[in-house]
Amino acid sequence: MNNTADKFILLFLRLITYAIVVVIGYILFDIIKNGISALNWQFVSSFPRRSGAEGGIFPAIIGTFYLVVGTIAVSLPLGIGGAIYLAEYADQGKFNSLVRLAIITLAGVPSIVFGLFGLGVFVLFCGFGPSILAGSLTLACMVLPTIIVASEESLRAVPKGFRDASLALGATKWEMIRTNILPYSMSGMITGSILGIGRAAGETAPILLTVAAFYLPRLPKSVFDQVMALPYHLYILATQHPEADRIRHMQYGTALILLLLVLGLSLGAILIRTHFRKKFRW
């Protein structure tokens, strides 16, 4: 390849990158510019009034927080467990290729389908009703493929030398995995998982039918209670509210809080990753 073509490709790639940054930057700028005026202590700490036209969004923040915690609690162990099975134990046979294919396909299923699945299985069949439990389980199903794929990749990235050395020292397979694979793949698994869960935290469709309350100015008492949630609250304020045009600042404020929450999750993922990177580098 000659030098001019090389330069052209470099310029092209650079432009694409800048374009992405500009678009995201503009969206962020717009949300911050319009949302910052709504942000104050009262907004994040008080209950909504007049169906959300006034007051704060405290119950929605708490609701989304519970949903995220519930989703992590269900999906992380299941997803990582599944990935360990697929990466370390499963043979390369037909059945497991089918399982892998199914997981990848599931990752592309629209979120409303997961919502309907959650409604059918958790809300109705299991009898949990619209509840934090049903919502968390639904969100967990939605992020499981992401977690499994990310975790399996980071397990496979651990060099074979570490595995061979452990086994040759008389470790059982599980001892090898526990002491010499999980510690090194943990950062990749957690990062991939949290990024997936962060995306789920902002989803409306899966919680619409399984947990989210339209307007519920009180806190849940158990996992069988409904909650308000940020993305759904935002959707209501922006499209369903009779005064939607007059309460733009409430909408932007809610969007900003949701963004900050997801940002917080990503930041957590980055911190965990640097922690593990420093501890185990090769």
């Binding site: 030398g161 595995r163 452990s166 020292l169 008389g170 090194y184 090769w282």
Partner: protein
Amino acid sequence: MVEHSIYPKDMEMVITTNQVNFYYGPTQALFDISLLIPAKQVTALIGPSGCGKSTFLRCLNRMNDTIPLSRVIGNIFINQKNIYAPGTDVVELRKEVGMVFQKSNPFPKSIFDNVAYGPRIHGEKNHTRLTEIVEQSLRQAAIWDEVKDRLHANAMGLSGGQQQRLCIARALAVGPKSCSWTSRLRPWTQNQPRGSKI
């Protein structure tokens, strides 16, 4: 069968193999290997690259079991026990038959944790005892003086040669506990002749 042994008649053998054939899937890598390896001695396997030295050594602690579609045909006796007999405890076998790999592969942990790895997974929790084992093994591998002041530094920071000796120490560290009763068995080091190829 080995009938015309080059060794004296009364010499004690620790490993005997009997017409061992090994296959990587459809590819045969070992052909009718029958040999005797005497106890308390250093035995060297010499041959051109790719002739199957590593493959043979991996048969001795059944590390080849981890390779999909691989097959061993024939018998290998270590201390008169057929290690391919059904019901053999592979983990127990690997404690007894140590192995240092051609390509050094220290864990990305501290030097101490590398050497203590084997004893720890085999249940040694006493810190004083672990410290003793680590020092003794590092001394046997002739690397103690170079690393004694930085036992808690990451092993990946060592030079290539030091890493290799660390791996030897790590293999030796497993020995004392289980080799005490299997007696004569020594961990193996595969020495690749450098420079000239035969």
